[in-house]
């Protein structure tokens, strides 16, 4: 009797709502992607047939990707990637430290610096790029620097605001338990602001890549930017679109990796 009741109840009990919701969200997400790709193919085969700048996905995947697999073009991709990685490493280290210092050293320093950094964040950086080239020369150094300047400002702003907002009593209790200044920063402030800081790193990664790419597009002799300009000049839609897609894919991968770290760092929330 009890067994019958248990099995009947098990049959009546709905599956956990959360997994059902996740399945629906996933279906919607990938369904949207597939619909957009199908739409893209249909438009390129119909109204935009034989246009110079948007190739259908089928051509992008065949002709475009094959063109990018050429050694010279892979080199361009590597040049941009290495410049981005260098810029992002500088942003992550310098931006985090600067944000913590400006947020925690003194209240007045925080307020003063926040205004300056906010204004810098609002400034468009593009007009300054020729100056970077003049200061640092044509090539890698100015492109990396342009990537750094794009990514570092939001990271500093987010980190300094979060670290200045750490609850006073969390710090005071650390002091009462004998934490030195270094321990208070390393064991209290840093873990408290880590989720915000990783959120800042996600923004910084996209903007650093944008900075490097802008540099390559404006004044450069190599890299992905130069490749893109060449395809535009030569009306080569498939390689152009393939390269743009690869860059977008790179951004998605970086974002997903940082999101993974963000989720781990925010488990307690």
């Amino acid at each position: 009797m009890t067994e019958t009741m248990t099995s009947a109840m098990a049959a009546l009990t709905p599956r956990p709502r959360r997994s059902a919701l996740t399945r629906k969200v996933n279906a919607l997400r990938w369904g949207t992607v597939l619909v957009l790709i199908a739409l893209w193919e249909a438009i390129c085969d119909g109204p935009l047939r034989n246009n110079d700048f948007l190739a259908p996905p089928s051509r992008v995947l065949t002709i475009g990707v094959a063109a990018i697999a050429q050694p010279a073009n892979l080199l361009a991709l590597w040049q941009m990637t290495s410049r981005f990685l260098e810029a992002f490493a500088i942003v992550a280290i310098v931006g985090s430290v600067l944000g913590l210092v400006l947020g925690r050293v003194h209240r007045q320093i925080f307020h003063g610096a926040r205004d300056v950094v906010t204004v810098l964040y609002a400034l468009p950086m593009v007009p300054f790029y020729p100056l970077f080239v003049l200061w640092l020369g044509l090539g890698m150094r100015s492109e990396v620097a342009f990537g750094v300047i794009h990514g570092i400002i939001p990271l500093v702003l987010i980190t300094m605001t979060a670290s200045a907002g750490v609850e006073t009593n969390l710090i005071a209790s650390g002091r009462a338990m004998g934490a030195g200044r270094g321990q208070r920063v390393g064991l209290i402030v840093l873990p408290a602001v880590l989720p915000e800081m990783i959120g800042g790193l996600k923004i910084a990664a996209s903007l650093s890549l944008l900075g490097v790419l802008l540099g390559e597009l404006m004044i450069s002799v190599d890299g992905v930017g130069t490749f893109i300009l060449a395809q535009i000049n030569n009306h080569q839609a498939a390689p152009l679109d393939a390269m743009i897609l690869i860059v977008c894919l790179g951004v998605v991968v970086i974002n997903a990796l940082l999101s993974l770290i963000e989720r781990r760092a925010s488990r307690w929330r």
Binding site: E167, N169, L170, A172, S173, A176, M177, G178, I188, P191
Partner: protein, 269 residues
């Protein structure tokens, strides 16, 4: 003003001859231009449980912070174990904050461990000691949970375990049960009292609950409104060990009446 009332029948075993472990002498405290407490003088003897009560915002917590070395007195002196307090002394004084100041990104066990981590205790030893401290407060089985996964009363006990894990003999408690209902508060208070007697701790306890102060304390320092001054120091006439039935004794009621009278006078002033 701070003279102790004559001990009544059944009073706790206090001896005036015993050297005080905490001596607060003519202490005035301020936050910037705001005078928070004026001319405070009281002593706490080894093993004694002293409560500070007074109207909200009267400076009770400020006085506790001065004893804990988190706030320097503007004038006067705080002497602990024979030497003036100039900063936190984690090996002698533990502090439980009103908002508990648990680190939300650390599990209950790691919250307790951090007190030992600041003191440079090896990871193996601090793990064992933290588990012992959690077991002592009845939380041996929730060491891996984050504070957000614990009830208010459990969080409270984690904070107390963190204060007990060091060998400090003085415990400063700033309204630790303020967020709990009266029933839980008195139950936890009773458990705390037993625990502290077992550990031989000297306690200064800030509270705004008259019954809590009367039930737990050996002496009660009654403070007037801001800037805080001491109105009276009352010796609690209840025998130890205390039991919830102590709250039904006539002495308990006359004591809470006396405290109400003192605080009601403040309200009229």
């Amino acid at each position: 003003m701070s003279a102790a009332a004559a001990p009544a029948a059944g009073s706790p075993p206090l001896r005036d001859a015993v050297e005080p472990v905490i001596s607060v002498t003519d202490v005035s405290l301020s936050y910037g231009p705001v005078l928070a407490a004026h001319d405070l003088t009281f002593d706490v003897r080894p093993g004694e449980f002293v409560s500070l009560i007074g109207p909200s915002g009267c400076g009770k917590s400020t006085a506790l912070r001065a004893i804990g070395g988190l706030l320097a007195p503007q004038s006067g002196a705080v002497i602990v174990n024979g030497s003036p307090v100039t900063g936190p002394r984690p090996s002698e004084i533990s502090f439980v904050f009103q908002d508990l100041a648990l680190y939300p990104w650390r599990s209950a066990r790691r919250n307790v461990e951090i007190a030992l981590q600041f003191a440079g205790v090896s990871s193996r030893e601090r793990r064992t000691r933290a588990m012992d401290a959690l077991a002592a407060v009845g939380l041996g089985d929730v060491g891996d949970r984050f504070p957000s996964q614990l009830s208010g009363g459990m969080q409270q006990r984690v904070a107390i375990a963190r204060a007990l894990v060091s060998d400090a003999k003085i415990l400063l408690l700033d309204e630790p049960f303020a967020a709990l209902d009266e029933q839980t508060r008195l139950k936890l208070g009773g458990q705390l009292l037993t625990l502290l007697e077992e550990h031989g701790k000297t306690v200064v306890f800030v509270t705004h609950s008259l019954s809590e102060a009367a039930y737990l304390s050996d002496r009660i320092v009654v403070m007037g409104p801001r800037p805080a001054t001491i109105k009276d120091t009352i010796t609690v006439p209840l025998a130890r060990p205390r039991h919830p039935s102590s709250m039904r004794e006539a002495e308990f009621h006359s004591l809470t009446d006396q405290l109400t009278g003192l605080l009601y006078d403040d309200a009229n002033e």
